[in-house]
Amino acid sequence: MSAGNMNLNGRPRVGVYICHCGINIAGKIEIAELVKFAEKLPDVTVVRDYKFMCSDPGQNIIQADIRNGLVNRVVVASCSPLMHESTFRRVSSDAGVNQFLTQMANIREHVSWVTADSQDATAKAKALIGAAVHRVVLHKPLEKKTVPVHPDVLVVGGGIAGIHAALTLAESGKKVYLVEREPSIGGHMAQFDKTFPTLDCAACILTPKMTQVRLHPNIELLSYSEVDSVDGYIGNFDVKVRRKARFVNEDKCTGCGECTVNCPVHNRIAPPEHPEVEPHLDHEVKSWLTNLLEQYKGRAREALLPLMIEVNRQYRYLPRDIIHYMAWRLDIPLSDVALQVATFYNVFSLKPRGLHTIRICMGTACFVKGSGRLLERLERELGIKTGETTSNLNFTLEAVRCIGCCALAPAIRIDGDTYAHVRQDRIPRLLRKYTVEGGVKV
């Protein structure tokens, strides 16, 4: 802070340098207006414009003002900082102002090139210059310094990528810590037979590398461990690795696996988190669900699918509050019930379905006999796509993979009724049979 104050020489004196960039900027933006605007900004002492600010004569203008003591902070309104920020920083520092007291306003790429109207462009340029001036006043002079770098490397994850990275680094002489969450490294690749797309044998690639990791003097393997926190910065990280309880003397263990085979609890799954509060549910629905649950006493997981099927049958979809309640009652995480199971199986819907569900069979026999054209006709008649529900909640249209009536192809099932050998011209009549006047009340 003190060094910064010394460079400031009292109050900030901002110089604003507006570049024409030939006609790139001046062709669109009223430069004279910008100059007038910038002159009125607080702390601004000098405003100048020039054809090419980045050229030598342009740079000299800035340096002259700095050397003459007119300016101790610089705003250059020109192109993108990607283009010339380093140029203008050097200009400032060569003339004796800390390079970080320079700010650019991008009025070319952000304004003149991309704005159609000249007035709009000028207004936006003003706003950008104003912002840059206000900002540069708050800049602090910064100094570059060098710190020693800790050369050791931590690799997180002992999959094939992590293994390979660790080995490459260790070979180049670095000390490597390899952290793996599971008891063994290898990751997904250890589960594959062959690799895509060359069909190489996965184990033949992976296992030699796994052994190399274990034997390499430069690699320290932290298996069954997880990274808890990462602090610090590039070159000087502070990492906390939590080594999970293992109750095995690692120096003596040969990894024979005998103990896991004999362990009475190794297959136990940790119970999921249980919300404290019972989710709200209508009393009647609750007792209905409770009755259903009675049949599955003590077999929560097995009860899940039949219960969901039952609820889905009753309501034609899975209402949100029931799902919440079921997850709580069965002590199964909500994400498991609602997201995984409900979206995996085709019969479930998380959105309300129509009063009648039209299931058009898309089995092979039906397909060969033109069920695709029937489906298109249904979509046209109902004005919805497959899988959607009509806005009056009368019909939901679904394509199913074979209802097992292949000898009657093409077949359609509406609710519980199956219709055989359906032809396109029969569809309007079929739909009329199920239509409820004025839509369905929910």
């Binding site: 797309p197 097992g404 000898a407 009657l408």
Partner: protein, 637 residues
Amino acid sequence: MKITTMQGLEDARAQGERSLYPARTKITVGMATCGIASGAGAVYAALIEEVKNKRLDATVTRAGCIGYCQQEPLVDVLQPGLPRITFGQMTPKKARELVVRLSEKKGLPFEDAIYRTDEDKILITGQEVRLAAERAANGYRKVTLIREHPYFKKQKRIILRNCGLIDPESIEEYIACGGYRALWKALKEMTPIRINEEIKKAGLRGRGGAGFLTGKKWELCRLEPGEPKYVICNADEGDPGAFMDRSVLESDPFSVLEGMVIGAFSIGSHQGYIYVRAEYPLAIERLRAAIDQAEEYGTLGKNILGSSFTFNVRVVEGAGAFVCGEETGLIASIEGSLGEPRQRPPYPAQKGLWGCPTNINNVKTWASVAPIIFRGGSWFVATGTEGNPGTTVFSLVGKVRNNGLAEVPLGIRLREMIFDIGGGIQDDRAFKAVQTGGPSGGCLPASLIDLPVDYERLADAGSMMGSGGMIVMDEDTCMVDIARYFLEFTSDESCGKCTPCREGTKRMLQILTRITRGKGRPGDAEYLQNLAEVIKETSLCGLGGTAPNPVLSTLRYFHDEYEAHIVDKRCPGRVCKELISYSIDPEKCPGCLACLKQCPTEAIIGEAKVAHRIIGNKCIKCGACLDVCNYNAVIVE
């Protein structure tokens, strides 16, 4: 009520026989899903009402499905001492007439009859039941005998032995057809090892599609240490185009239950599961009813048939996921989680349901068990071919005249299936291909028409047995579109766990869609071939491993169709919308206005008795005109 002695079984049999062959007229309606969809419900109601009105001395009953779906609804009439006559394509009106004729003793409407049955042969016991006491009267003799009817002549019914004959909700009728004899023999006279040996001797192969030896599978599970053990019946018949599992469960659920009890006894299991897909509500209903009855009669539950053996069965309803038909996926689904397959080994026999040894077989496999146990493995081997003993059920559907289920000895030729049993192609079109094995199978061309059907031959030809779907395609089918259809199916049903299946099927679908839209690029066919082979090699489970089969087999046999799409931008099957156009043949069109009324975009112009015309740019190629035209005047090219 519980059957504990041979006498008890005999009593039940006698009672079953009385309802199967009553001393008065019996009218039976085939009431499986396909029958009901064809209107059997209305026929049944009409029969009951009319019988009551006419005070006819007759019972009206329901049966399952005999498999001749083309002729549904089917109605059997059995009068004491006369052959059973089966009528097809019944309507309520015809049904009423039938009752009227019966009550006025006018003789049956033989012109509507499809076939007659003079005697029933009980498969399990080998015993014959004569129906026609004397030589049948003239009218009866005119009707074809069932064993000479082209649809049934080549069939040999082991799995479907009772289908369409008995009331699926009557355990007595099942017992009257030899039911639970095998279970009696197994529990009282055989050891678990002997039972297992008998199945091994029979060489029964899994009828779910992969064809693994059932006896071997049981042995693996039987010898596996660990308790409890589970047996599962896989009734998640997801293959589109196959419906025999549904039909067996709807028509003869006890045969599956009996097979499961025998299997469980051999393996040492006390809890069974039957996993039925959600799309089969009637099968679930009948199965539940059958389980209740079996428990009541003591052929399921505690102390089965008076022995010390206990076995319970629970029905699990699927929720619509094709991949759950894969055994590890199915097990995961029963456990209440995602039906995602996992890596094998460990196989279910080692680590299955809840981590315990589990044996899982298909519906048809379980239904085959009882006859093998009662009549012996060597009896079973006599049917079929070497290495492929026994029979299997095919669902013969698509563009074939006689749609339905046919049970035939393995090794039968495709020609016999399609042209003898199936009666040839509909509307006298040319036969183009037959698709077997569902989305995992392939399409076989007309040149392979003499191929014997067994597990190995089909695999060599690039298809597979699968669950027995046999979809016949004629010249109006586009093979590229069929490949696209199956990839749409598999990419949708892929669970997404492994990359080759998840990404690969999607990519193949994109390319196939491009080709069917006329935007195929040179080299697409080769690229597909390459991609298909990689997916086949690298996928985790059977779904991905077989998903490329429809593409590979169509590329192999119908390469010219791919070329026509890609190079000439032409669809030889006249299916792909972007590559065809509709027009009306002015010579054939009499101007009946039928198509004009149906056209959703008013693209057809004309007036009564003047040939119509289609305005090309208005036509959305929906095919409505084609469907309604009775004069074959709509041309697609």
